[in-house]
């Protein structure tokens, strides 16, 4: 049975695309045939994060409009043979996504793939609503910051009222919290909402905590999903997140402040 997973947040810039790329790659590395779709029509970026921007020929909207078939539009990942990317259109507008069109493409993909990851655009307009409409699972990406938490709560409302599962009175979408850009040191000093704070406010199951990490920018600079960097804290935290998504019970890491050496204590970091 194919699982459709939406990576969503409401607010922009919290790490949806970074997380979509990392989680899709992680699932594929675990041997699951996975496709990741960019729903940000007009502002595609998943291709850059996945490092396949020069191989984009046809896109999601072309497939919906019948101008290309899925096989022509899907880009096979360089590193991982069971990972594919379906890029967004750069030229159309978000209204190019219709419920019928998106539903048809997802149905076709479901014949071939175990996991379909929908990388949602920010906001609550057509693209974002289409990304979450067909979802079985939602990964609500949130930064420990007031506007992001509030927007995440708004998105939870949408998942519960505007999705296919809600409209057809099916079992509700499984909602997970992915806390990104977390800084344990700042949470400890009371400068940043803690993991527990955000969990308590949003009251959904925690899937993972990704620490604020220099590895994320390095990964996007080079077009390699950060999960591939298994030397980095963020990469390892994403691996743990994928394990939990697959139902394994993995303890949280990188949520305590790392111990600083003697010199760092004196001279600062």
């Amino acid at each position: 049975m194919t699982q459709i997973i939406v990576v969503t947040s409401g607010k922009g810039g919290v790490g949806k695309t970074t997380s979509s790329a990392a989680i899709a790659t992680g699932l594929a590395l675990q041997g699951h045939k996975t496709v990741v779709i960019d729903f940000d029509i007009g502002l595609r970026n998943l291709d850059l994060i996945m490092g396949c921007e020069r191989r984009v020929v046809y896109d999601f909207v072309n497939v919906i409009n019948g101008e290309a078939n899925l096989n022509q539009a899907l880009i096979k990942d360089k590193r991982c043979s069971n990972l594919y990317v379906l890029p967004a259109s750069q030229t159309r507008d978000k209204d190019a996504l219709t419920k019928e069109g998106v539903g048809k493409v997802l149905d076709d993909l479901a014949k071939d793939f175990e996991y379909i990851i929908c990388d949602s655009p920010a906001g609550i307009e057509q693209g974002a609503m289409m990304a979450l409409y067909f979802a079985d699972v939602a990964i609500v990406t949130t930064n420990p910051e007031v506007s992001s938490v509030r927007d995440s709560d708004r998105i939870l409302g949408m998942l519960q009222s505007r999705s296919r599962r809600a409209e057809q009175n099916l079992e509700p979408i499984k909602e997970f919290l992915l806390l990104t850009r977390y800084s344990p040191a700042r949470a400890k000093t009371g400068e940043m909402l803690s993991v527990e704070d955000v969990e308590e406010i949003l009251a959904i199951k925690l899937l993972g905590v990704i620490p604020e990490s220099q590895a994320v920018l390095k990964a996007s600079n080079s077009g390699v999903p950060v999960i591939v960097d298994q030397e980095s804290d963020a990469g390892l935290a994403y691996s743990d997140t994928v394990e939990r998504l697959l139902g394994k019970d993995v303890p949280l890491r990188f949520i305590e402040e790392e111990k600083k050496g003697f010199l760092k204590r004196i001279f600062g970091s």
Partner: protein, 86 residues
């Protein structure tokens, strides 16, 4: 934090707890609106209009809230702050 910061530091207010409190309020409010039926904003507006026929009040002096209990019971709570001078 370096050693220098350590000497400079005096107790800073805990802003995370402020954030948490503010969020709890706004999220509770958002969820109240989310669960309310579609006719609710209109009904609220009309209730305010009716009261306005008799007393001068502004919109923030009226709070209309719908609380839903688990056992199929909804409570409509109307709270009007009447001005002092009659």
């Amino acid at each position: 934090m370096s050693l220098l910061d350590y000497f400079r530091s005096n107790k800073k207010p805990n802003t995370a707890s402020m954030a948490k409190e503010r969020l709890q309020i706004i999220v509770a409010h958002q969820r109240g609106e989310r669960d309310a039926p579609d006719y609710f904003p209109q009904m609220k507006q009309e209730i305010i209009e009716v009261i306005r026929k008799y007393v001068h009040i502004s919109e923030d002096q009226v709070s209309v809230q719908l609380d839903q209990n688990d056992n199929n019971l909804s409570v409509l709570e109307l709270n009007v702050t009447l001005p002092d001078g009659k």
